[in-house]
Symmetry: C2
Subunit: 344 residues, 2 copies
């Protein structure tokens, strides 16, 4: 499946999610028909976003240590891939409420949809938190839906709960405006975007310590690169591709790498133009356009792109030479391109 | 350990929690010192409440199917007991925020403590949700901290995630004011207070289907009895014992069994006296006292106590005759008394 491995993983994860949600729909119906609403909130949100980047990372991690990939291994990748998508849904649902973001993946955020439906913002927020709880429970359920050898199951469980701990701590740092932002990103995004999934995949493939260490050296800079790309897209990206309104990060006053660079580069005049959009939810389209132009012209964007390239080089270096399997290394390179070159 | 089994379980769970929190404190410190705050919020909240009723239910469930209880079995009970206490912390932290309750277990609710500390209600709520996330992750981590045979681990995992699904759906029904309240209570409280823990304990002891069915027949009415006792305590209980302010349930306008009974029993005049306190957070102490008196005099309290006694009788009946082990049956009776006769 050399050429279309990404399609196979994406289709596998989507099919697994669909059958899982059908089971949960039936289970909810047996408990109380109202509960179907929560399951549907999770299912709709999860199926709305389709990159499945983390599942691809799990597969690449698995193949990077497996000389003889098996059907059972592929099934485990798919279950863990579905699990991590549900983890992602849970985190994003909460994140959107915490940040007051009403749009996500080209549709309403969960708290916004519930608030509108019941005409009550607090009730909407509470129901979104319950939907996130359901998603988290589903993630843990799917994590153990594979018949692993006991040692593999235990290792995957620890990797998963450690990853969960890191990402929640990262979200805390984000809420508290922690400086420097790099640690926050390392925990909040890097943990479960690249490092965690690649490690989970490698554990399925029964990786040894040297292999896990090589993947850690690979995953850490790639996670930072992912976040830097996110920052660039959040300001310069096409809103139709990102699923978020244009100027979103600026209006939110997000503490991005781009803003941190700009602070060291801007003239007082340009800084003022930036501040007319930064952190102002009611900023005009013109103010946003001005701020975007300032960030581009100042060199902040170019600096961030240069850092991104340096992180990618570091990730690439971690693969040569390495104790990893050649076929898997090719997939890790593909993963790297997807993360670095994406437009959403 | 016939006489002091409850003390041994309570001490075992508290010691396990203490050592677990110490580990997590160290892990947080390695990630970022700020994260210690979240771990401490969970640890302080969890150690503040000490009934450990659910851990006792796990142990009673275990003994009710084990002819030869083992040290390994006891260790599993303690790990699962600690896990379910963390599940409880996670649920209560969210519940308090959703209900706007600022007090719990004789101290501030988590969102209230964070709000006060940062002078920001939304940030306080967000940090409380993150603390609840941490607690949930810890609960899942401890669930797999025991070296079970694979079959036992899988069964315990499914029982735990099913229980989690039910309780979140029950909370949804509560938020939406679902009628009748009995289904809501069955899901929201019964699921993880008696039925779930007793089942978990029995699974540790490798129960057969007949034993699990008997425990289900026992746990279901006892879970309802627990909730009815809670309703009575929430209105008539001593605030020093319950850890909640007097008249709390009335002020909150909680949809309790007591209120449902009262609605069918009260004269228009008494209904009016009740309504001067019900659902009014600013109700005077006098209005609360009047409403409490009305609920007592109307017979609503007596009706609820009678229903409670009927549920206990049903639970008792499920134990005779039964496929359960005699020593364990004695513990289940003790558990029943604790649940029915408690004053907090």
């Amino acid at each position: 499946m050399s050429n279309s491995w990404t399609e196979q993983v994406i289709e596998g994860v989507n099919a697994r999610l669909a059958s899982f949600f059908a089971d949960k729909h039936a289970q909810a119906k047996r408990l109380t028909p109202r509960a179907i609403e929560l399951v549907e909130a999770v299912s709709e949100f999860t199926m709305r976003g389709g990159k499945r980047m983390r599942a691809l990372a799990i597969y690449a991690g698995y193949r990077s240590v497996s000389q003889n990939p098996s059907d059972a291994g592929f099934e485990a990748v798919i279950n863990l891939g579905a699990s991590i998508e549900l983890l992602q849904s849970y985190l994003l649902m909460q994140d959107d409420w915490m940040d007051g973001d009403d749009e996500r993946r080209g549709g309403p955020a969960t708290h916004a949809a519930f608030s509108r439906r019941f005409g009550d913002a607090k009730l909407g927020a509470s129901l979104a938190i319950l939907a996130s709880d359901i998603a988290a429970g589903f993630a843990f359920e799917l994590l153990h839906d594979t018949k692993f050898p006991a040692r593999t199951a235990a290792a995957a469980h620890v990797a998963f709960t450690d990853m969960h701990f890191e990402v929640v701590c990262g979200q805390q740092l984000d809420l508290l405006g922690h400086e420097p932002v790099s640690l926050m990103h390392h925990l909040k995004t890097g943990s479960y975007t690249v490092r965690g999934p690649v490690r989970l995949g490698a554990l399925i493939g029964d990786a040894d310590e040297a292999q896990l260490a090589a993947l850690e050296r690979f995953g850490r800079p790639l996670g930072i690169a992912f976040q830097l790309r996110d920052d660039v897209l959040g300001t310069f990206g096409d809103s139709r591709a990102t699923g978020k309104p244009a100027g979103h990060d600026l209006r939110e006053g997000k503490n991005t790498a781009l803003i941190a660079e700009a602070r060291t580069l801007l003239s007082p005049q340009d800084r003022e133009r930036l501040d007319q959009a930064f952190g102002r939810r009611d900023a005009s389209a013109e103010a946003i356009a001005n701020a975007v132009e300032v960030l581009d012209r100042s060199g902040a964007r170019a600096h961030v792109e240069a850092r991104l390239a340096a992180q990618l080089a570091e990730a690439r270096e971690a693969l040569h030479p390495s104790p990893l399997v050649n076929e898997g290394i090719a997939l890790l390179h593909e993963l790297m391109d997807r993360i670095a070159l994406r437009d959403r």
